[in-house]
């Protein structure tokens, strides 16, 4: 192996790479602008949309209740709801978003309350529709408050304290540091995104340097030069690897910036109202990057090998599109709730890196797992590079017609 020759190929491929517009998009623009756009843009949009929906006074319909005048009067007094007259097609009106919810008061409701009989008040809404849920929630809150008042009155009538119904209180409290909470929330997402962008960054150069070279007719030109095929593959591979890493680095920088902006604007709040400060410390950033290294290596070698079988850029894209799913599925699996790193999962490429990134970002470092994942991915990557070398030796692949 002649590293000088591979370096000459690398420098030439780098020059061509930076002059390619597609490279600029896939390697620089996507990671740099996708995250701020996704994180800040979508979060801000979501906050605006939810705020707007909360400000709206939902239109609600009352079904029945003619014999329960006190309850109806209490509902109508509410400023947070707009009561609309009854219509027989109330279900359609909910589905068509003309009204947000409906409440059905059972016949003889107030009489049943007096006699101590239990009745069920039904709230109808459009599941999955945010404004309808808000309407239904406001109705439910009112009815719960109304029920509590009835209970208090009954207890008072019998001279019993309110605490008779709740002899003790239950409260859940988080003890994990805020970084770990936010890490557990966003860690899998970050690992997944770095993995996907490592692949995206490698994909276009991998196609361009193999199938693209065949399509442009330059493969025969380079094969007629004295460079050995191994050095040629090495030079090309290093460029694809660089592109993959550049994308990964830019994506980590971009993510760090995006989360910093989000932290300042308080757009990220946990369900408990606590701000999720994602603290991507230097150690976690470096660790994620180190774990992404062998994976980027693996992607670069595999994508190059597959793309080499194609005769044209378009054909290579059709080969590599299914590869995207092969990579996305294990990456997505790591996001699923309950999927934790085990010694067996530590041997599954992509999934292992995604899971370990999740742990690293939440501040958990299981060094034995990290070493196992790093080593196993390195072995897969070395095997993939060996395969790339072998494929470049095959005339039937290089001169496929």
């Amino acid at each position: 192996m002649n590293l000088n020759a591979a370096g000459i190929v690398y420098r030439k491929e780098f020059t061509e790479w930076v002059r390619d517009r597609r490279t600029l998009i896939s390697t620089v623009l996507v990671p740099l602008f996708l995250f701020p756009l996704m994180m800040v843009g979508f979060s801000a949009l979501a906050v605006v949309m939810v705020g707007k929906a909360e400000k709206e006074t939902p239109k609600v319909m009352i079904l029945g209740g003619e014999d329960s005048p006190q309850l109806i009067a209490s509902i109508k007094k509410l400023d947070s709801l707009e009561i609309v007259p009854y219509a027989a097609n109330w279900k359609d009106e909910i589905s068509n978003k003309d009204i947000r919810a409906a409440v059905e008061i059972p016949k003889g409701f107030e009489k049943s309350l007096e006699t101590g009989q239990s009745e069920t008040v039904k709230i109808y809404f459009y599941d999955g529709e945010m404004k309808s849920s808000f309407g239904a929630n406001r109705l439910e809150k009112f009815l719960k408050d109304y029920r509590d008042t009835v209970v208090k009155d009954r207890l008072a009538a019998k001279n019993l304290p309110a605490s008779v119904l709740s002899p003790f209180a239950i409260k859940q409290e988080n003890v994990a540091p805020p970084e770990k909470v936010s890490g557990a929330t966003f860690g899998s997402f970050i690992g997944y995104t770095v993995i996907i962008l490592c692949m995206t960054g490698a994909m276009y150069p991998a196609i361009d340097l193999t199938a693209g070279e065949k399509e442009r007719g330059t493969m025969e030109t380079i094969l007629s030069s004295p460079i050995s095929r191994m050095d040629l593959v090495l030079g090309k591979f290093l460029l694809v690897f660089s592109a993959s890493l550049a994308t990964a680095i830019l994506s980590v920088i971009s993510m760090g910036t995006s989360f910093a902006i989000l932290g300042r604007t308080n757009l990220m709040n946990s369900s408990g109202g606590q701000t999720l400060a994602l603290n991507l410390g230097l150690l976690s950033v470096v660790s994620v990057f180190v774990m992404a290294l062998p994976l980027a290596f693996l992607f670069s070698a595999v994508l190059m090998t597959i793309a080499l079988f194609a005769k044209s850029y378009k054909e290579a894209q059709s080969y590599l599109t299914p590869m995207t799913f092969v990579i996305v599925i294990p990456a997505v699996a790591s996001i699923m709730p309950g999927v934790e790193l085990t010694p067996k999962l530590a041997l599954i490429p992509v999934l292992n890196t995604s899971l370990v990134c999740k742990e690293i970002i939440s501040g958990t470092y299981h060094w034995d797992s990290i070493a196992l994942i790093f080593a196993s991915t390195c072995i897969y990557a070395a095997a993939a590079l060996f395969l790339a070398f072998k494929t470049f030796q095959r005339e039937s692949v290089l001169f496929r017609s």
């Binding site: 007629s224 030069s225 004295p226 039937s396």
Partner: protein, 250 residues
């Protein structure tokens, strides 16, 4: 000097089975002479020349180029060969100069020698007007000149041309044929393939007629005329190939 010894190349085709693209071809090309490999499309010309340039490996037989075996020392062979064909395109995002320098470096030239060599070639081929222009912005003629510069940058003693004028206009084709003559005049060993009879008549010192992977006959134009009792090269070609086809059909 090129010496092909029983070169054979077989390919496996899913539909047609085994294909003998080249079948036991032997010939010899001397320095300062042009060897023309004449054959129809699919006769085995490109495969033969690709083997000599070590882009393909022979299934059987071998060839020696400048004293190096194409199977045993392919990299040394390539360092002594300039290979030009219509399939050897240029890198579109490199400038003409960058491209020539790239191949000079791959051929192991040091920076001082490379600069001198590039300046000399660009002046000789009148390429200074477009040396900094990207290859995808060059005209066909400029591209051909850049390809020639690429093959010359390491000053190889052997030149291999595979149908170099295919699809080119008259003026660009003329640039190529002039260049081939210059190579011979500089004492290089030249082999080139074509199916254009006039090119062979004008350029070649020795002619080999190849058909179905077999070298049917070879010699100077005068020797072929005498051997086949025909004056016109096209008639000689038809006679030689026709005889083989008749035998095969019988």
């Amino acid at each position: 000097m090129i010496e092909a010894r029983g070169l054979s190349k077989r390919f496996q085709d899913k539909k047609r089975g085994e294909i003998r693209a080249v079948d036991g071809v032997s010939f010899r090309c001397e320095p300062g002479r042009i060897y023309g490999l004449l054959g129809a499309n699919g006769a085995g010309k490109t495969t033969t020349l690709r083997i000599l340039a070590t882009i393909l490996e022979p299934t059987d037989g071998t060839a020696v180029v400048c004293g190096y075996d194409v199977v045993e020392q392919p990299e040394k062979v390539r360092a002594n060969v300039g290979f030009l064909s219509t399939a050897t395109a240029l890198y579109p995002r490199l400038t003409a100069q960058e491209l020539v320098e790239y191949f000079g470096r791959l051929n192991g030239l040091d920076e001082a020698t490379l600069k001198k060599r590039v300046d000399d070639i660009f002046s000789r081929l009148d390429m200074n007007g477009f040396r900094d222009r990207r290859c995808d912005k060059l005209s066909t003629g400029m591209k051909q000149k850049t390809s020639i510069a690429r093959t010359l940058v390491h000053d190889p003693p052997v030149m291999i041309f595979d149908e170099p004028t295919l699809g080119l206009d008259i003026m660009t084709a003329r640039t190529i044929t002039t260049f081939i003559r210059e190579c011979r005049d500089r004492g290089k060993t030249v082999i080139f393939s074509t199916h254009i009879m006039s090119e062979v008549e004008k350029l070649c010192d020795v002619i080999g007629i190849i058909h179905d992977g077999n070298l049917l006959t070879e010699g100077t134009l005068a020797q072929l005329r005498e051997r086949h009792a025909e004056q016109d090269l096209e008639e000689i070609f038809v006679k030689v190939v026709g005889t083989v086809q008749s035998k095969a059909e019988a």
